[in-house]
């Protein structure tokens, strides 16, 4: 499996990371090095083997469905790069 520049651009888009046009060839090459390394996994016979979901044989614990927290608007917004009138502010989303 070889990754070309357009695939690299698509992956960058999916990851929401801006990659300049002139950086794409090097990025595609790095992907190919890493994926070439990962290809070794194809040598393993995984027929009938379950994909691991949890490394410890424990079901996820469930908690009681009740309100235990809240009314911390100031704290929630304290680290926001742009907070106004008690909300997170972002560029216009809907035209």
């Amino acid at each position: 499996m070889s990754i070309d520049q357009s695939t690299a651009a698509k992956v960058a888009k999916l990851a929401r990371i801006k990659v300049e046009e002139d950086a794409l060839p090097a990025l595609a090459e790095e992907f190919n090095t890493i994926l070439g390394f990962i290809e070794q996994l194809n040598e393993v016979d995984v027929e009938g083997v379950e994909p691991m979901t949890s490394v410890t044989p424990q079901r996820l614990l469930r908690r009681v469905d009740e309100v235990t927290d809240g009314s911390q608007q100031d704290k929630v917004l304290a680290n926001a790069p742009d907070a106004r009138e008690g909300f997170f502010a972002v560029p216009k989303v809907v035209e």
Binding site: E30, V46, V49, M52
Partner: protein, 495 residues
Amino acid sequence: MSELNKLGLAEARDLLRKGETTSVELTEACLKAIDAADALNSFVHKTPDIALERARAADARLAAGDAPAMCGLPIGIKDLFCTKGVDSQAASNILKGFKPEYESTVSGKLQEAGAVMLGKLNMDEFAMGSSNETSAYGDAISPWRRGGEETPLTPGGSSGGSAAAVAADLCLAATGTDTGGSIRQPAAFTGTVGIKPTYGRCSRWGIVAFASSLDQAGPMTKSVRDAAIMLEAMCGHDAKDSTSVDLAVPNFEAMLTGDIKGKKIGIPREYRMDGMPEEIARLWDDGAEMLKAAGAEIVEISLPHTKYALPAYYVIAPAEASSNLARYDGVRFGHRATLAQGDGITEMYEKTRAEGFGHEVQRRVMVGTYVLSAGFYDAYYNRARRVRTLIKKDFEDVFAAGVDAILTPATPSAAFGLGEMSDADPVKMYLNDVFTVTVNLAGLPGISVPTGLDAQGLPLGLQLIGRPWDEGDLLNTAYALEQSAGFVAKPARWW
């Protein structure tokens, strides 16, 4: 008393209880050592006011006879742990200025146990790296040097600042985290002890997430006894982490008898890699001899899927990272890029993440995005998870056959020079984790113990891998190895 910062946790604790020193004295000695060690770039956010306030409170508790396990002991905290009101940015520019409104469970437990936080420690960005060279703060530098050279060396990574600080006696101990070897590799590079407990032992709540199915916190210390003391204070069930396990935490220190007679120690043949340096092979053989001399039985074992651990890790860890790091969007916390006229929300995400994430983090997020994308999910991600099941089974089979612990090298080499790997392809750097990453994939406890020096005078470590939830027994075997190896070397001060 001179140079209190050179003490370990156990010695300092005993002096405190006897009234022969105070937490304020210990803390001041460490703060002085930290200020004189800026050349190591290990402490990246110093918190002297918090430290002295907690030290005074600890002294009051000691005087009142109400001293918990870590009371008054000054430690450093890896920057990956959220600490209330104190910069916690995972060594990333995307979290620059982030001051959490909450305390991570583990750092909170240490605080409750009376430990004194001296500041935050350097690391690889988002814990992604093996040399501390991906940090937004710049490289952490090892206090160790090759004999007769001044080449700056890596303290390892990702917990490089923690390792450098403990090795240079800037603190009595430090917290680390380990996703693929990030506690054990830097411990081995700096002649310190580092243990990654069983997955689920320590709560992950409030620790900036990298790969959630692999991440575990653990202590980095000057001795196995100190690791036992500090690990106990860090462990325990936490309802805020659904993968945290509700099991009693034993008194690990009380289990350090040094008696390993009749224990069966496995030597996995697949770890004897082609091209293994002679020094590492000899260190490993010597370690096995030491355990044998202490009464253990040495058996050769096979972990057949070892070779596939690293490639499986480099699917699973980036996949989880791409998902975890989606939260850095420039909206709720951290950095937001300056936008151009007409930029919408997509440009905000893309520019913010391009500016905020360093190169290695971007690369891993994108690899993760690729292996999870439509059409490749089965071929890469699900296949890697199947291989992970087989890797775990390798260990289960060996433990079922009566093996108590497994002895391996901790790293394929001694510490390398900063920048020496910069021209190498990323896979070459990933090979640093070849002996440690299997343990994360299988969720097992692993400990790195310093046992020797290489020809250039740099420390080398061995790794012991234990049964799940049996950290007490593992620590005891490590204690026996430590006693036999008698490693006492310290870096000569140049900083």
